[in-house]
């Protein structure tokens, strides 16, 4: 249903194809040091990677209220011309309308496969990140709530953090994750990585030589999990057991991030 949702957003964007990608495009995400959470950081990195793969320049802006500025309430969103688009799916559609696409070379079967894997990543990795952040009490108390509430003053800070936690937990219950234990979640992540690892094999990218939005999404999540310190290293360990995924992350980092900065 996510795909339909994405298309809906695109339908609302009026005729964007005419204007080229501007130099002044900006991407918004929460404050880097004190505020941003694992899941938001991963989603933001995925979009940044995707835009770098497309060769579209974007300036990253850090705002404490990024979540509320976003039209869908989700991180990240981009501001291009007078358009505001949030989340990877709609952003991919948006760039496509402007004539930039990474998946044009794929045939229908491959495209369907790519969509399926993206769904897998969103349903497994993203949900696991949310679960660990908000449903694991040690992480929620030690990391998530203090970071989430950092821009606000008391008592609003604790209220907003608990409200968000309640919201995420309700969503977890709705999708049947409420009863899961942490160990089960780690196992789900492991299986997801297993599937990704098998699909990747020895190829440089998921669909051989060319990167697609799937690569951007997988990189965004795996790299963030590997480089973020949580209360336990268990989550990162599950990924580290798949060596081809590790080298995949290193490769994308070198190609799209290190070269640009040096």
């Amino acid at each position: 249903f996510l795909v339909n949702h994405d298309l809906l957003w695109v339908n609302q964007i009026p005729d964007v194809s005419a204007e080229p990608w501007p130099e002044s495009a900006t991407l918004y995400q929460p404050l880097k040091e004190d505020q941003v959470l694992l899941s938001d950081c991963a989603s933001s990195l995925a979009v940044q990677t995707y835009l770098r793969m497309c060769g579209l320049p974007v300036e990253v802006m850090y705002r404490a209220n990024a979540e509320y500025m976003s039209p869908s309430g989700k991180i990240p969103f981009i501001h291009v011309g007078n358009q505001v688009v949030s989340e990877l799916g709609p952003i991919v559609q948006f760039t496509k309308a402007k004539g930039h696409s990474l998946s044009d070379g794929l045939d229908d079967v491959q495209r369907a496969e790519m969509k399926a894997y993206m769904e897998l990543v969103n349903n497994m990795l993203l949900t696991a990140e949310l679960y660990i952040q908000w449903c694991d009490d040690a992480t929620a108390t030690g990391i998530t709530r203090p970071r989430y509430s950092s821009p606000y003053s008391w008592p609003l800070s604790s209220f907003l953090a608990y409200q968000k936690q309640w919201e995420v937990r309700r969503k977890m219950n709705a999708i049947g994750w409420g009863g899961k234990t942490l160990e089960q979640v780690y196992e789900d992540v492991n299986q997801c990585c297993q599937a990704l690892s098998q699909r990747l094999g020895t190829q440089p990218f998921f669909f051989n030589k060319q990167p697609t939005e799937l690569d951007a999404l997988v990189f965004g999540h795996l790299f963030t999990i590997l480089t973020t310190r949580l209360t336990s290293t268990e989550l990162a360990e599950r990924i580290k057991s798949h060596s081809n995924l590790l080298s995949f992350c290193r490769r994308i980092e070198q190609t799209y991030f290190e070269d640009k900065s040096s």
């Binding site: 209220n65 979540e67 509320y68 505001v84 609003l156 209220f159 907003l160």
Partner: protein, 470 residues
Amino acid sequence: MGTVHAKSLDPLPMHGRDLGVNPDDLVETPEVEQEAKQEILENKDVVVQHVNIQGLGRTKEDLLGYEISDVFHARNLIEVMKKAHVARQRLLRLGIFKEVEVLIDTSEGSDALPNGLDVTFEVTEIKRLTGSYNTMVGNNEGNMVLGLKLPNMLGRAEKLTFQFSYGTKETSYGLSFFKPQPGSFERNLALNLYKVTGQFSWSSLKETDRGLSAELNFPVGGTNQTLKWEGVWRELGCLARSTSFAVREESGHSLKSALSHTMSVDSRNSAILPSRGAFFRLSQELAGYTGGDVRFLKEDVELQVNRRLFWDSVVSASLWAGMLYPLGGKASCIADRFYLGGPTSIRGFGMYNIGPQSEGDYLGGEAYWAGGLHLYTPLPFRPGKGGFGDLFRTHFFLNAGNLCNLNYGDCPRTHLQRLAECIRWSYGAGIVLRLGNIARLELNYCVPMGVQSGDRICDGVQFGAGIRFL
């Protein structure tokens, strides 16, 4: 034993259910007509021996003692009548009685003096709990409003009101507790708890406020003073996807904790269509020193002077000005800034459609001033004189003002210069309708002048309603 019924003295309106105390009633005691009767009664010295209150249920008697004690000081019958009348008004003002009747009788019993009088107030209390229920239907939305009121909760004129509005788009509620000081109704304490949602189309902004406030009102000299603390959790959001980015950047949550002080003096004879008197209000608000994440100092001043001219026409001049000074190095929030323009401020311009804007969304300003000069006259040929027609006035007006942002690094001279350039002004004529004593409707023909780029105007006929007007 003769009974003097208060009713027999016509000029003093002892009966009736006029719960709304009209200031005119209190001020203009009918001296002239009493002359004839005074001759008969003036030499009769009397002593008020007893003052009784009948019909009390849950109201505590000590509260009423303050209101009626003055009656004991009356020396003759006329004074008894006058003081009883004032006491009756004071009792009605408490808002806890449906009806108050005064009965004056000669004293009876063993200790009765020959010239002794007993004054009896017969009161009917308002019900312990009153409720109301309304439904409202507007553009694409419906609301159900439920109101509950406990007019005399603890027996000393404390009032608890609760209002809950459930709508298809939003819910809002308000709970307020009001406690006057016994014997001095003007000194009172009010506590409020509320949630309100506003949709501000001029800014494409949606605001939800959840707040708590405590307010102390007390008179000093001839002025009314209000001290208030307010803590509000504000949530701002965009009304539409097309909302300008400048407004989008303001989205999110903030917590405002502010101390404010208001001083007002009102010598007008009516709040809506005064014919004489002046009104002055000065308020200041300091946010951020009692907590919260919004810091500013806000000053706002309002002045209105009215003067009666020939043929019942009235000339009225008013001036508003305000300044918002952000503290702590943070920019001001869109929800705190001033807005100007519209059918009850600078007429001829759209509602809050003056000043800084971005992509058609008005962002408000940190400083403003506005002035108005009106000539009110009765309707031509005075239809419905002395009745319905008196609710109407024709008026000719001249409005001017400006709204802008100041660079607070500059000197005061530059600020004045900034406020003096690009003045928007308008003139025109129209009809004003007074709605009760709280609001008014206006239908005006306006000619806006000094329009700046970005301002939206309403050239020609403009209709508006408001409780505060320039």
